[in-house]
Structure formats: C-alpha cells, structure tokens
C-alpha cells in the first residue's frame, strides 16, 4: 500500500508557497492543486494531533483546505508567511471542533480505539518530517516541565488555559505565563522569525 500514500513536499522548504497562494487568490485552480500538495500533510497532521479521530480529522482538514481556497484573496503576506497562515487556520478549526460539545463525547471513546489501530501511524514518514520532528522534540526539551506540559496540552489537546490550569492544578496566572515563557523558549530554540 506504500505507493498509495501521498507524501507531500516539505512546506518549510517551499519558498514558492507565497507566490502560489497569490495565484490562488486570482482564482488559479492549478496553483491551488500545488498548494494542496504542499500543505495537505501538515494540515491533516495538526488536525489529527488535536482530534485523534481520523474520520473527523479528514473532514476538518478538507474544510480547512477549501477555506484556504475561499479566503486566499484575503491573505495578507505582511501578517506572516503563507504556511503559518494555513497551519494557524488548521489548528484553529481543529480546536473549534474539539470544543464543540457533541464532538467531545465521541472523541474520547473513538480516540481510545484508534490509538490501537496502528496502520496509519506506521506508514512511511517523510524524511523532512522526521527531521522536523527531531528538532521540535529537541526544542521542547529545552522547556521546563511545566512550560512543556502547558504548551502541549494547549496545542495538541486543544485545551483552554483554564482547562490546562485545572489539569495541572495550577493557578490561572501561572499557566498564562508558562504558555508565554514556553513559547518564547520554543521560538528562540527553533530560530523562528515571524
């Protein structure tokens, strides 16, 4: 089944994405297909990290990709890179879904089942993605335990900072500052510039 699995290009090494999105904004469907090829893997990846359930994740990821097409004319390059814009949108939509009430109940039982279904996790991983994972993992280790737990609970589980505070039995103010301090460390370690 290996050849049936689409492996996208590495979006971080894709200087053309901005230009492609600009063409998408002018209604170019071929340019959109290229954008899709570049971002579908990370979009589904982040949505799935938050939602766990593959079927729901595919549904949300598709909606996100269609929204990229629809709103491309409103994308503002001066507000951040194209890939950041798309992945921020994907995370936002995944979090919206997690917080919608009916999804919350279904998620936990389904997620437990899916976590024991190995095929999707064991299909080939692209090399860039593994390198990316290595670097992100290494940088996450530079955070204090509380910073790392706060950031990952918020980002990968879609919890609000209030829920994070509850989960870690910490005061609200502490969680706010841990999230910010954690992101500062992560930003500096990853060498991110906006």
């Amino acid at each position: 089944m290996k050849e049936a699995v689409y492996i996208g290009r590495n979006p971080a090494a894709e200087p053309d994405l901005q230009q492609l999105l600009h063409e998408v904004a002018l209604g170019d469907q071929e340019a959109f297909a290229s954008v899709y090829d570049t971002v579908a893997g990370p979009v589904l990846g982040v949505v799935r990290a938050v939602l766990r359930d593959l079927a729901q994740s595919e549904e949300v990821a598709q909606d996100v990709l269609v929204e990229v097409w629809r709103t491309a004319p409103r994308y503002r390059p001066d507000r951040g890179t194209a890939i950041n814009w798309i992945l921020t949108l994907a995370h936002r939509r995944a979090v919206d879904r997690v917080r919608s009430v009916e999804a919350a109940a279904a998620r936990d039982t389904k997620a437990a089942l899916l976590d024991r279904t190995p095929e999707y996790d064991e299909v080939t991983e692209q090399v860039e993605s593994r390198l990316e994972q290595e670097q992100v993992r290494r940088c996450l280790r530079t955070l204090t335990d509380l910073q790392r737990q706060s950031v990952t609970l918020a980002y990968y589980r879609g919890l609000t900072y209030r829920e994070v505070a509850e989960a870690l039995a910490l005061p609200l103010g502490t969680v706010k500052t841990r999230l910010r301090d954690g992101l500062i460390r992560l930003r500096d370690c990853l060498g991110v510039t906006a």
């Binding site: 982040v46 629809r70 692209q126 918020a154």
Partner: protein, 247 residues
C-alpha cells in the same frame, strides 16, 4: 485582571476561551509589540504542526479539488471595506441624523458649524469614494473576463489584471522593494509608447492592489517608474518594468 500582554501565548495557541479572546483581540489591535509577539508564537506553533505531518489518503486530493471547483472565492476587499459596507447598510440613518444635527447647529452657530458640515460632508464623500474604489478594484479582480500577467519586479512580483468588459485594470504587487526615500512608484498606461498617468502606489506597502486611474482605453501595456513623492505628469526615469496587457 492580569496584564493583557501575558495573554499572547494563550492566544497564539488558541487557548483563550471565546469571551477572553474577543477582549484580547481588541487589545491586540492597538498593541504592535503584542501583535509581533503573537506572529512569532504562531510561527513557532506552526512548527509544532509541521512536526505532526502525516500521509494523506490520495482520494482526498480529488475530493478537495472537486469541492473547490464550486466554491466562490471571497473578494480581496479588506476588513475595513466590509465595515464601511456594514455601516452603510445598518448605520445610514444615524449618519444622516448626525448631518441633520450639524445643519440645525449651523443655524445657531453660524460659520463654524457650516464649516464642520462641509468637513463632515467631505469626509463622507471621501469614504464613499474609497468604498467605490475598493468595490471597483474587487470588481476587476472578480470579473469573469479578467486576465492577468505576472512579471518579476526588482526581487518581487507585479501582476496586472485587466477586465476588458469593465475597461479597468488593477496592479497587484508582491514583495516589491521599498522605493528610495522621498520617491514613489507611479503607474502608467502605455498608449503605444506614450505614458499616461495611472496613479501612485502606497510607498509604505510592499504588497498591495491598486486600481489604475482611468479606463484602459486600448492601452498596450502598464509601466511602473520611480518618481518623486506626489508623482509626475510624465515619467522622469526609465521604467522599472513594462508589462504588455494580458490577452
């Protein structure tokens, strides 16, 4: 209430409850350093997303591309334009009341109030003009017969979009370098070698869409020159680029 600055992290991770998010966004609008930090945090969070990249079912590609075929894109109009439109739809009556109040006051306060009335009317006309331009611009970009051509311009790109039916053109720049201090980019219609003024670009923005002044009127191309602030009646320098009209 804690210092809203500390909410940048929670905001960038979408970890603010809805009610607090709205409040923080209001703060963000007036806090450039917060906006900058949020942007950087979003970039860091995007790396967390990239690290989660997974393979995608090939069939999903066809499904998404198929859906996109029937989804209308938004017009490039910016949010302020939308706000103007909304205020026109919902707020036209109060605006008229305000003007009527000015007129009434004019009877009492004489000259000053009349001057204020003129200013108010002037502002309203300016707003109406800006709105008309924005909708003309969007109209050209969304016209069914719109055609475009893109060229590299000094490290960035320039795209000219023309609608023959509307006889108007839009110039879209992306990442063009800033013009030298005290200079602006000026746009021209090329009427078979004679350059006709088509307006100025905003020197502060590297990426922008500009509705060219006046009709295309059979122009063979669009040129861009660097001119002293305020623009020139005729080009005073060699063009940075000349694009022939897309056909």
């Amino acid at each position: 209430m804690t210092d809203p600055h500390t909410l940048t992290g929670a905001y960038a991770l979408h970890a603010l409850p809805d009610d607090e998010r709205a409040g923080f966004e209001r703060h963000l609008a007036g806090c450039p350093s917060c906006a900058r930090e949020v942007e950087e945090f979003e970039a860091a969070a995007a790396r967390l997303a990239l690290a989660s990249t997974v393979p995608v079912r090939p069939a999903m590609r066809e499904e998404v591309l198929h859906r996109v075929g029937s989804v209308r894109q938004l017009t490039p109009g910016t949010t302020p334009v939308e706000r103007v439109r909304r205020s026109k739809a919902l707020g036209a009556a109060p605006a008229r009341w305000a003007l009527a109040a000015c007129v009434a006051a004019a009877a009492v306060f004489g000259g000053t109030a009349v001057w204020q009335y003129d200013r108010a009317q002037d502002a309203q006309q300016r707003a109406a003009r800006a709105e008309r331009q924005a909708s003309d611009l969007a109209g050209v970009l969304a016209a069914p017969d719109a055609k475009s051509r893109t060229v590299r311009v000094a490290g960035g790109t320039g795209t000219v979009v023309v609608s023959a039916q509307r006889d108007r053109a839009v110039f879209v720049s992306s990442k063009m370098p800033e013009p030298p201090k005290g200079k602006v980019y000026q746009l021209w219609f090329d009427d078979g070698g004679t350059m006709r003024d088509a307006g100025l670009m905003d020197p502060a923005r590297a990426s922008q869409s500009v509705l060219l002044k006046g009709p295309v009127d059979g122009a063979s191309g669009v040129g861009v020159t660097v001119e002293p602030a305020g623009g020139s009646a005729k080009p005073t320098s060699a063009p940075v680029t000349v694009l022939s009209m897309p056909s």
